[in-house]
């Protein structure tokens, strides 16, 4: 079993045209750690999330996530690891409008992201929904949910398979402070229960106190709190 850091990055550089570049001399994230990414728009928070998820590959340097160097893996293998071992949540929730809230949470089951039985996943869905306070609206379509409810559904989707790493790209960006606090509590509590590391990009400095560490990308270099 791998007991070392969950993420090890060295001299990670990423360019997007001439206008954007990201340089991380060093990045280490331990299992169960809670890391917040802050910085103004365009500082590279979402790009770093994508690099850690293996959606993009660094131009130079190495980035090892969950024990594998993304650069050594083909696209389909990277997708498989992301599908099975990384939970993801987004600012715009990205729920599928043709599925109910319950089916959205169970999306992992439909895309072959879990080996657990349908019964187990269904029970896990109920448990997560109850913890998130959305168990009574599981049969509703996303269009009939409030913003806060949608984000809680999206978080439950990310948490369903108990992934060791959860990546969140400004999940509270569209929520009022009360809903944002509730969503963050859900995320961090469930992650702690499952022993998952959480990396969350955010603009909301009021939430930073609840993280173990904050990475400020304003200067595009790591800065420990």
């Amino acid at each position: 079993m791998n007991t070392g850091p969950l993420i090890i990055g060295r001299e990670v550089r990423f360019h997007h045209g001439d206008s954007f570049s990201l340089h991380l001399p060093e990045l280490t994230v331990q299992a169960g750690e809670r890391l917040a990414l802050i910085g103004p728009s365009g500082s590279g928070k979402s790009t770093l999330i994508d690099l850690i998820a293996g959606i993009h590959l660094p131009a130079t340097g190495s980035l090892e996530v969950l024990g594998v160097d993304w650069a050594t893996l083909p696209e389909n293998r990277r997708r498989e690891i992301r599908r099975r071992r990384i939970g993801m949540a987004f600012q715009e929730f990205e729920l599928l409008d043709y599925l109910s809230a319950r089916e959205n949470i169970l999306l992992s089951r439909y895309i072959g992201a879990s080996n657990e039985s349908p019964l187990t996943l269904a029970q896990r869905t109920e448990d997560l929904a109850r913890a998130a306070g959305i168990h009574q609206i599981l049969s509703r379509a996303p269009a009939r949910l409030s913003q806060g409810e949608r984000q809680r559904v999206a978080l439950c989707r990310a948490l369903l398979t108990r992934p060791p790493l959860i990546l969140c790209d400004e999940p509270t960006g569209n929520l009022d402070p009360q809903s944002a606090a509730a969503v963050l509590t859900l995320l961090l509590d469930q992650a702690k229960r499952d022993g998952a590391a959480v990396i969350m990009a955010t603009h909301d400095h009021g939430l930073l106190a609840r993280f173990d560490r904050v990475l400020d990308l304003t200067r595009r270099s790591p800065a420990a709190e």
Binding site: R83, E94, D97, Y98, L99, G112, A113
Partner: protein, 393 residues
């Protein structure tokens, strides 16, 4: 892609199609139409061909006055109501006297309850192999026997009656309709005989106004009598509703013309030998009055037109199929564009390309499958009623 993802992509496809049910139903309807139209044309033309050929094969030759051979064939084979130049009973007598086979006269100039009223001789029933399932064939003047389907549709049976249709409703000089007594119902034959009313030739001539009975003064209904004096009877202007042959007046019926003026629509000729058939045919066709046709030859000519038309429909069907395929392709391409955000989300959470491809493939397969099933169902149901539809052609 594992089995769970395969099944899961099916579930997602079904959910997506259900969510966009109007669009899905529209595509299914288009696919169904594209599949069903050529199939239906095949089924109907095959049944049409079979019905025509079966009837034509069972009918050796047709004889009528010079005119359109298609009209003559469709009238004598299928009892189609077309105006044909008549020949006379005297013509029939003349041909029959010359021999060479059996001549069956037909008068098809009237209808009963809007179905063909076929006035003929017992030889017709013999030729067609028609047997009564109930009752007897027409034995007396004014008797009728019904085809099986007609009897079922009109809920009529032995002992009931059926009226001929009045041809000239507002011309009181024309004969009234005739009340026909149903003496039998034929067993089903699977052909046009099932939809016809059969009677004897003399009954048709009553309808022509060439055969009638004189009512004795003491048998006139009292409601029509205005004044009755010795040797003199004054009747009201009230119309007599219909004619009826009864045991009391049957012996009174008599013809008011000679055989040369008793009209027939045509004759069916069953020659004793191929030679006698060929001889009569060439003799009649060389003359100026009559024509003899082989129903098979006429039907083959008719089918040639049908097949030419079917080829046209086949070409239209191919175009329709291509257009439907193009429409599905365009809708899928448009759907991929409209769903780009959803696809990006799926990519970001790690769904592999095969699962995404399977999702779209399932959707297309389900739509085509449902369309094909709907087409199959429609064609199946219509095939069951194909004989009735062919009858309409």
């Amino acid at each position: 892609m594992n089995a769970a993802a395969m099944t899961g992509s099916l579930v997602l496809a079904l959910r997506h199609l259900r969510h966009h049910r109007t669009r899905s139903l529209l595509i299914v309807a288009c696919v169904a139409a594209a599949c069903a139209i050529p199939l239906l044309i095949r089924v109907l033309t095959a049944d049409f061909q079979k019905a025509l050929i079966t009837r034509a094969r069972a009918t050796p030759q047709l004889i009528g006055s010079k005119g359109n051979r298609f009209d003559l064939t469709m009238a004598l084979l299928y009892f189609r109501q077309v105006e044909l130049p008549t020949l006379s009973f005297a013509d029939f007598r003349q041909l029959a006297t010359n021999g060479g086979g059996v001549f069956i006269p037909l008068n098809l100039r009237f209808t009963a309850r809007h179905r063909a009223l076929v006035a003929t001789t017992p030889d017709y029933f013999e030729l067609r192999g028609l047997r009564p399932a109930a009752g007897t064939l027409p034995l007396l003047l004014g008797d009728a026997v019904l085809g099986a389907r007609l009897a079922r549709q009109l809920k009529l049976g032995v002992g009931d009656s059926i009226f001929s249709d009045q041809r000239e409703l507002f011309d009181i000089s024309k004969p009234q309709s005739l009340k026909l007594h149903i003496t039998g119902v034929l067993a089903p034959s699977g052909g046009p005989d099932d939809d016809a009313v059969f009677t004897d030739l003399k009954s048709a001539w009553i309808l022509e106004g060439l055969c009638h009975a004189h009512t004795a003064a003491n048998q006139v209904p009292e409601r029509l009598v205005l004044n009755r004096a010795p040797g003199r009877l004054t009747l009201s202007e009230e119309l007599i509703d219909y004619n009826e042959v009864t045991p009391a007046n049957i012996s009174e019926y008599h013809l008011h013309t000679d055989e040369a003026h008793l009209p027939l629509t045509g004759l069916i000729f069953a020659p004793n030998s191929q030679k006698s058939g060929t001889l009569l045919r060439s003799r009649l066709n060389a003359g100026k009055l009559w024509q003899a046709v082989s129903p098979m030859e006429v039907v083959e000519d008719l089918l040639a037109y049908v097949f030419r038309l079917r080829s046209l429909f086949d070409a239209v069907s191919v175009v329709l199929g291509l257009l439907t395929a193009a429409m599905i392709g365009m809708i899928t391409a448009l759907s991929i564009r409209v769903r780009s955000r959803e696809l990006e989300t799926l990519r970001r959470i790690g769904v592999d390309r095969l699962t995404i491809a399977a999702l779209f493939s399932w959707e297309i397969a389900i739509l085509i499958g449902l369309g094909a099933a709907a087409a199959g169902l429609a064609v199946g149901l219509i095939s069951l009623g194909a004989p009735d539809l062919v009858k309409l052609l």
